[in-house]
């Protein structure tokens, strides 16, 4: 499974933070790979309806761009940060953690 993750928008643009992060889940330590797969499954990433389009509705709010590839299928979702779905938020939290910050 591969996951591409990018945070779009926000109050300012920081090229370093806007860069997409690509995660090859198969290369991760077992525990982390398991958590990520479980999060993708929990939010029914491949089957869930498209999030309501709110891009630009509230200036300076963010959108999370997530693409998941697995077993020959691929799906991309643009998720406004105002989306309240708990399972999606859990996945986003894991991806943000993975993206990391200043070492």
């Amino acid at each position: 499974m591969k996951i591409a993750f990018r945070v779009d928008g926000g109050f300012a643009v920081f090229p370093g933070l806007a860069r997409p992060v690509t995660i090859d889940v198969d290369d991760l330590p077992d525990a982390e790979a398991k958590r990520l797969r479980a999060a993708v499954d929990a939010c029914r990433f491949f089957d869930r309806p498209e999030p309501a389009v709110q891009k630009g509705a509230s200036p300076d709010m963010r959108t999370y761009e997530i693409t998941v590839e697995e077993s020959g299928r691929s799906r991309s979702l643009s998720i406004p940060e105002s989306d309240g779905d708990a399972d999606l938020k859990s996945l986003i939290a894991l991806l943000e953690e993975r993206r990391g910050r200043r070492n």
Binding site: G9, V13, F14, A18, R19, A57, P59, D60, G84
Partner: protein, 356 residues
């Protein structure tokens, strides 16, 4: 009608928010607690009811413009949760909090209200006395601040890259100006009109700060969000209107890539077509015009931009050239040939031909 018991109000129970705010600021400790709880639980219902009533009657403009402008601020605490608005913790005229974010939000809303009122006789964000609400401590280590169409929301920042978002008054002015723009021309948040929407927020965010510091154009730093970057970050602010592209250059954040001229306009699909990037071009134009015209930037240059945002001829899909042309026309109309020439020259220096 009076509501003497602490309860959730029905839609028919009308207790003036002014009364509640008064109790919340001047009542006993027990009364203050009740009033704050009532304001909190009533917020959504009251907003919905008021909106429908105003839409139905259409009489609100005459009523509201008849009353003198009065600030009505309420600061809420989300306590690192996501529910908005959260718990009411400070109301208009109430005692200062021990929480610095609460007080900064309260003061920043007040500074922005006072600026618009004094400089442009604007009665709050909607020019109809909108109560100003803000929520602090939104989410955990949340690196953002935004106007959601009804209220301000501030994160605490993660502490490694960003400090708390209430720290910079120009960021508060920026966010509230999104409310002003939304109420006037509502520039479409995409491409050049989106970059203009962002730039207008930077312009008036900076002017709120300059007004507070009583700085003339040549003395201002023209930075947006000075103090917001954490100490370890290599940078001075989020953006520079004076020198777009120079605000930060950091291993984690990357390098500020705002252009200052049309030849460097960034074509991208990210960030709604680069709205926070290409805003550097109109930002620089405003700075150049303000320096050329001189004095306090809110008096003439700010006035020209403000009247352009209110200009019925300005299209919500405006590109830089259309917006620039309206600023030139408004400069001539409001002040005269000298100011018109200064605005025209400022746009020319960033590569925008504002001649008609």
């Amino acid at each position: 009608m009076h509501c003497s018991q602490p309860h959730r109000h029905s839609i028919f129970c009308i207790l003036s928010p002014n009364v509640l705010h008064n109790v919340a600021s001047k009542g006993s400790a027990k009364q203050r607690k009740w009033a704050l709880q009532t304001l909190e639980s009533d917020h959504g219902m009251r907003l919905m009811r008021a909106t429908y009533q105003l839409m139905e009657t259409g009489a609100h403009k005459a009523l509201l413009t008849a009353s003198p402008p009065v600030k009505q601020r309420t600061i809420y605490d989300a306590a690192t949760g996501e529910s908005l608005p959260g718990k009411a913790v400070r109301v208009e005229g109430g005692p200062a909090s021990k929480d610095v974010a609460v007080n900064e939000a309260y003061d920043g809303l007040g500074a922005t209200f006072d600026f618009y009122q004094t400089a442009y006789s604007r009665n709050s964000i909607d020019d109809e006395g909108l109560h100003l609400d803000a929520t602090v401590h939104y989410k955990v280590k949340y690196d953002n601040a935004f106007w959601n169409g009804q209220q301000m929301v501030f994160g605490d920042g993660d502490g490694e890259l960003f400090n708390r978002f209430t720290i910079a008054v120009d960021v508060i002015g920026h966010e509230l100006t999104h409310g002003v723009t939304g109420d006037e021309v509502n520039l479409v948040y995409l491409g050049q009109s989106g970059a203009l929407n962002e730039s207008v927020s930077d312009v008036f965010g900076s002017l709120v700060k300059q007004y507070q510091l009583k700085q003339t154009a040549d003395k201002a730093d023209w930075l947006i969000g000075a103090g917001l970057l954490a100490p370890a970050v290599k940078g001075v602010a989020l953006r520079s209107m004076k020198a777009p592209g120079t605000a930060f250059d950091d291993p984690v954040l990357g390098k500020d890539d705002q252009p200052a001229h049309m030849r460097d306009y960034v074509q991208t699909s990210a960030d709604s077509g680069g709205v926070h990037t290409n805003s550097g071009i109109p930002n620089k134009a405003f700075y150049l015009a303000a320096i050329a015209i001189g004095g306090f930037a809110w008096e003439k240059t700010g006035r020209i931009w403000y009247e352009t945002v209110r200009d019925k001829q300005l299209k919500k899909t405006a590109d830089f050239r259309h917006f620039a042309q309206r600023t030139v026309i408004n400069a001539a109309h409001l002040f005269g040939p000298k100011e018109k020439a200064a605005v025209l020259a400022a746009w020319a220096q960033v590569g925008v031909n504002a001649g008609s």
